[in-house]
Amino acid sequence: MIVSKAKERQDVINMLEGVKSVFLLGCSECASLCGTGSPEALAEMKESLEGIGKKVTGTFVAKTGCQVLGTKVELKANKDEVDAADAILVMSCGAGTQSMVEVFKDKKVYPANDTAFLGNMTRFQHFDERCSMCGECIIDKTGGICPVTTCPKGILNGPCGGTNNGFCEVSPDIECAWAKIYARMERTGELEKMRQIIPPKDYSKKMSPKVFVIEKKKEEK
């Protein structure tokens, strides 16, 4: 899921300087699981903003905030509340925030969260980054563990000299991706594969902004 972190409250307050009334929008997907866009998070934000004299015209948790059309339809019921607000404060990821920018052409839209990374929830509300969406998955060659993401140097061909008893020299909290890859490929009997040199990555596949359109199959047309 897309991991988001709540901005420091003071930063949000500074952002809302001159804004008297806000509409709060959360998201039931990732941001709810992260606790940054859940009904509880919205209630807390409402209380906090009202405490400093802002008017909260309404709150709503979108089903999937990054789904532009769906969210637009959902929000029709809240039209008056949105219209009454000087700004929309979006408590989701950056994609959800920009859905609102697209739907409400003339309304100020502000982000309450920082969007961090694509994460796996490995324990309750504990997220680990395993994939950095490089656009060219190579983990068939690396025992299913992504060195692009889980090695701070993104090394594709084995551990650097900083490998340290299974951990990384960059931080004792990081496991050495290549120690893990080796151990796993040894278990799965794929070490021979690890001898192949992986070529430089094609970073054109990571070039932003990206567009992806699923084409309809002929027979469906």
């Binding site: 701070p152 140097k153 061909n157 551990p159 650097c160 931080s171 080796y182 001898r195 040199i197 430089p200």
Partner: protein, 296 residues
């Protein structure tokens, strides 16, 4: 005394000595040049580090050129941390036209280790791919396969950590580096000769030259620091005890003795093809270490 250059010495099967020069931060290079002068005629080649430890310093390439003018055979250390594949290739071609003939290919310490921790690390390539890049340029084509007007002629080396833990993934990478075109290796500092022999037994299966990394121990505190904070370096307790026993005054002398003994052992027993002596700021002590080792 005239010394053979790195490639010539290694190919002739001579016990080859390299040392290291770390460019300073700032433009006052008088001390660096003075140290380098001490090494003239005593070593076969001199490494010039590339923003070592991710700390900003003068670039390796211009310093290589200065040392070359002085009469040294410089080894251009090149990391992937600060340059993408365009910059890397243009620096490699630049090295060639400046008369530099050796390049040491490394991934490079992470920016988090250095003095600009908020910098964006590049790592467009890494050490194995960098070796392949040098091989491509030596063959007259760039990484994208475009033909070059004049190929490079660079003798390429790499690094390896014989004391890495776990060792097996490191050995696998060592083999990849050989396959990618490494002609020579300079190792991370080694202290335990038995461990190093075991490493060399495996390295000897490949047609590459290996220079053992000899890091001058300045005192027991430094040895303890290496053990505690530097992955891949293990100083045996016996050496730490010797440094301690030598006292404050005698520690450096004792460290020089230890380094000299290591070089002598490696040479006399033919364990490796040479030694890479790292004195970190005390390059002026290298000639004396070599003298005590029975070299020069």
């Amino acid at each position: 005394m005239s010394m053979k250059k790195l490639k010539e010495a290694l190919e002739a099967g001579e016990f080859t000595i390299t040392a290291e020069c770390g460019p300073p931060k700032g433009t006052d290079i008088a001390e660096m040049l003075e140290h380098a002068k001490h090494l003239l005629g005593k070593i076969n080649a001199i490494n010039v580090t590339d923003n070592q430890s991710a700390v900003v310093r003068i670039g390796s390439l211009p310093v290589c050129r200065l040392l070359s003018e002085m009469g040294h055979d410089p080894i251009f250390q090149l990391t992937c941390r600060d340059r993408n594949r365009l910059a890397i290739q243009s620096d490699l071609m630049g090295a060639h036209i400046l008369g530099i003939r050796n390049v040491l290919c490394m991934t490079g310490d992470h920016v988090s280790a250095g003095d600009h921790k908020t910098a964006k690390p590049v790592y467009d390539l890494e050490s194995v791919q960098l070796l392949q890049t040098v091989a491509a340029l030596n063959g007259g084509h760039d990484l994208a396969g475009n033909e070059m007007k004049g190929a490079t002629n660079l003798y390429q080396g790499a690094v390896v950590t014989p004391e890495a833990n776990p060792l097996e993934p490191q050995m696998l990478k060592f083999e990849k580096k050989v396959k990618a075109g490494a002609n020579f290796f300079q190792t991370q500092a080694i202290y335990d000769m038995d461990n190093f022999r075991r490493f060399m037994d495996r390295a000897r299966k490949h047609k590459v030259k290996v220079l053992a990394g000899i890091l001058l121990l300045k005192n027991a505190g430094m040895a303890n620091f290496l053990n505690k904070f530097v992955p891949g370096i293990t100083v045996p307790q016996e050496l730490i005890d010797r440094l301690k026993a030598a006292g404050k005054e005698g520690a450096l002398e004792c460290g020089m003795d230890i380094a000299a003994e290591q070089v002598r052992t490696i040479k006399e027993q033919g364990i490796a093809d040479g030694a890479h002596v790292m004195a970190i700021g005390l390059e002026n002590k290298v000639p004396e270490i070599l003298k005590r080792a029975g070299i020069a």
